[in-house]
């Protein structure tokens, strides 16, 4: 079994992946979002149907946009705006709604599923490179010492997993989305989130260590 990579090699690799992912896909790297899309795969069907009808009839899309604008600002405000533009003899701000293409590109949920499966494959390859591949039923002796084995182990993993799932959705991101993609751009919400999850993990781990 080979040792883990030096820290700076892993750091460079993660940075290249985070930046490369953004430039290749025009989306910021965020694994918790892939989970959202895969778990909510049925929503894609509804979106597909809606966007298909807009592609077929762009006029319908314009009408929907206008209806939403009126709902937001009120009929009077919209009429006033349109009249003011008319008086100035300007071209409308949006000449012709570039209907379907104008919306942000949506990655299909199956792509997100492929992404999650690729992470599993990455784990297989990584373990093979280190010569450490093999079926293991627990998470090692340290984990067993802290949380127990058997039924206690299952409860720990399930409750912990549920906290990870629920927590990342509530927080709007995880280590990749808030941590890497967010902190590196100094996004305030991401800085707060990252400090919170590292802080909570440190306090919880120290408390468990102290208690056992």
């Amino acid at each position: 079994m080979t040792a883990y990579l030096p820290w700076w090699v892993t750091a460079i690799s993660l940075a290249v992946i985070t930046l490369g992912f953004y430039f290749a896909n025009d989306k910021t790297l965020g694994v918790s979002g892939s989970w959202t899309r895969v778990v909510q795969w049925k929503n894609d069907k509804v979106l597909d149907e809606e966007s298909a009808s807009f592609i077929k009839r762009p006029k319908l899309f314009e009408d929907a946009l206008m209806a939403a604008t009126i709902a937001e600002f009120g009929q009077d405000e919209v009429t006033r705006f349109l009249e003011s533009r008319h008086q100035l003899d300007q071209k409308p701000a949006v000449d012709r709604v570039q209907a379907p293409g104008a919306i942000a590109r949506r990655i299909h949920w199956t792509v997100h599923l492929v992404f999650l499966c690729a992470l599993i494959l990455g784990g297989v390859i990584g373990a093979m490179i280190r010569g450490d591949i093999g079926i293991q039923m627990n998470m090692g002796s340290v984990h067993a010492g802290l949380f127990g084995t058997g039924f206690a182990f299952f409860i720990t993993m399930f409750v912990g997993g549920a906290l990870v799932g629920f927590g990342t959705q509530l927080a709007g991101g995880c280590t990749s989305g808030h941590g890497l993609s967010g902190v590196s751009r100094l996004v305030p919400a991401s800085l707060i989130a990252t400090m919170s999850f590292f802080g909570a993990a440190i306090i919880f781990s120290m408390a468990i260590q102290y208690l056992t």
Binding site: N25, W35, M157, G160, G182, I192, S196, F197
Partner: protein
């Protein structure tokens, strides 16, 4: 709205595998490594994180000056959600990507974590989100 192309499948596969291999080789899928980070006994992984963030910052500043990248907004869910995530990470040694990497390495306990993640995401999106009314968004969209 464009549908996903073969290019999306290709890039998501390449970056997924690369990320999985990196996390595995870097020791992120090893509970002992993660636990000793949280106990502040071995800060190797913290150095990795700080190094990666610094390099990304350099990259985003030099390469993305004119691009407008969507920023996450702070809301009432940011702190409680992150605290829940941090505790879950300390219990399982897994964040949303690492549970999958652990499974790939042959650690079958990660299957329970993955089942937990799916349950947690489902409960939030279908039961909790409609009543919380927070604009938490979908990460990476």
């Amino acid at each position: 709205m464009q549908n996903s192309t073969i290019q999306d499948y290709f890039f998501y596969t390449v970056f997924g595998v690369a990320m999985g291999v990196t996390l595995s080789l870097g020791g992120f899928a090893d509970f002992e490594q993660v636990n000793s980070l949280f106990l502040l006994q071995d800060i190797t992984l913290l150095l990795v994180f700080a190094g990666a963030v610094s390099l990304c910052m350099l990259g985003f500043v030099t390469l993305c000056r004119k691009r407008k990248i969507a920023k996450k907004t702070y809301n009432g869910g940011t702190i409680p959600g992150s605290i829940m995530f941090g505790i879950g990470w300390a219990m399982t040694g897994a964040c949303p990507s690492i549970a999958l990497v652990q499974l790939g390495e042959g650690k079958l306990g990660a299957l329970v974590t993955i089942f937990g993640i799916v349950t947690g995401v489902w409960v939030y999106r279908t039961i909790a989100a409609p009543s919380f009314q927070l604009d938490t968004g979908v990460c990476g969209e």
